[in-house]
Amino acid sequence: MREVYIVGAGMTPFGKHSDKDYYDLGQEAVYKAIKDAGIDHRQIEAGYVSNVKAGMAPGQKVFKKLGMTGMLIINVENACSSGQTALNLAYYAVATGQYDAVMAVGCESLTRGRQSGEALAPDQDDIEGILGNVMPGIYAMRAVKYMEMYGATEEDLALVAVKSHKHAALNPYAQYRNLVTVEEVLASRKVAEPFTLQQCCPIADGAAAVVVCSKDKMLQLGAKGVRIDASVLVSGKFKNEPSDMTIPEISERAVNKAYKMAGLGPADIGMVECHDAFTIAELLYYEILGFCNKGEGVQYLRSGAAELGPNAKAVFSVRGGLLCMGHPLGATGVAQAVEATWQLRGQAGDRQIPGLKAALCHITGGGVSGMDNAACGCHIFTV
């Protein structure tokens, strides 16, 4: 396998962009990533494009007005992990020598999807869905169990949101940039107990793109690259037996594969993007991704280890996370890689993590009854 680098990164701000469709957003992200890489757009040999809601041939619609057509374009979907799926294909296409320069693009318009009156009815064989199971409820049940097992409180959960807003306030690409207090978080509208609205990631539109290439190509471009040391994608296991819901097996399996592939461990990682769709998730991922022991997530958070500042160990959700960015399904996985690229290059402005050498991006999701999650991706980047 050849070494693989990200040499260009671009994205749109995340938020409600009901005036633009996903392909407009995707086109903007591609344009910025190409300009950032300093590559001629005609040198891109393939595009891997993730989108969940758009229907047919989204990648072709993203690339066409930029004249980046004729090349191999593959449209992928893997629920919340769609973006990392595109990145995984881009990585392997270059690592195995199929291509020297490709792009991974994620794009999504969720507000547009809503306008079209899309049905959100569960599949007919999704018994849990028919009986009223919703995604916040599943994470809420994890939270209830975690609180019972380890004595975490509603205030502890709210602190995750408070921290994410602090980070988001420093990020011009974030949707919610206001600071919030524990009291405000807990006073917001109830969604699924113990979660209030500010503990759940908001609807968002957005797009992100990266140029992925071989070492030779990077040197030829004279671009400042970030190396992809691990690219892992796995699916959830189907089971219906009792298990500990505070230990998301799929994420544990994916991250361990990623650490092994990169030859790195949590001690080497200074930045983590995780699937913090709900506050409890970040606490669980401190533990599952190996940054503290089981049950010590609250302690890790309260110590400041996950936060920009003097006590930082591995800063989680420095973009503001899904909680403040929102989660445009197809876009998120690529947007995480864009942030990692900027941070590892030292280009993250006010929210820069000093001296960063390695970043981990984790994403998981997709409600398929009987599965932890449909798919989980982990990528590790270094400079």
């Binding site: 869905g129 028919i130 009223g132 809420a140 049940m141 109830k190 969604v191 699924a192 219906n240």
Partner: protein
């Protein structure tokens, strides 16, 4: 008892004969599991073959009682279910975990309590009339 499928929108009760039995003679309702002839593992809901070893499965009657593993009170739920409603995962002695709505008051629900399967309304129409009947769980 109707076998129509409410997921496609008929204005009728829902009752899934492969999952849930409400005996006509008035005996207590129960859920059905599917046990592998080869490896002995029990599955719920219905499957055609054992995902583990691709062997045949036999229908079995599951225990009527289990233990509430975790729960949540849902305030923003699925259209067609009046909020707030309480949901949870129940662990059964046959080593299966089953999701369901709980007929337990929000302030009474807690992890670890024993619960029992019952028949009840799981979806209502816009004016609150029953639209779907299926299994639910109550505290014992």
């Amino acid at each position: 008892m109707s076998e129509k499928n409410a997921a496609v929108g008929e204005e009728v009760d829902f009752f899934h004969p492969d999952l849930f039995v409400v005996p006509e003679n008035g005996e207590a309702p129960y859920l059905m599991g599917y046990k592998c002839e080869n490896c002995g593992k029990v599955w719920f809901p219905k499957l055609e073959l054992c995902p583990g070893c691709w062997s045949d499965l036999n229908q079995i009657k599951l225990s009527r009682q289990g233990t509430l593993y975790s729960y949540s009170v849902i305030h923003i739920g699925q259209p067609g279910i009046k909020t707030p409603y309480v949901v949870g995962y129940i662990d059964f002695p046959e080593n299966v975990r089953i999701y369901g709505q709980l007929e337990i008051e929000p302030d009474k629900v807690k992890t670890g309590i024993p619960v029992e399967v019952i028949s009840g309304v799981v979806r209502t129409d816009k004016v609150g009339n029953p639209k779907m009947i299926s299994y639910k769980f109550k505290a014992i």
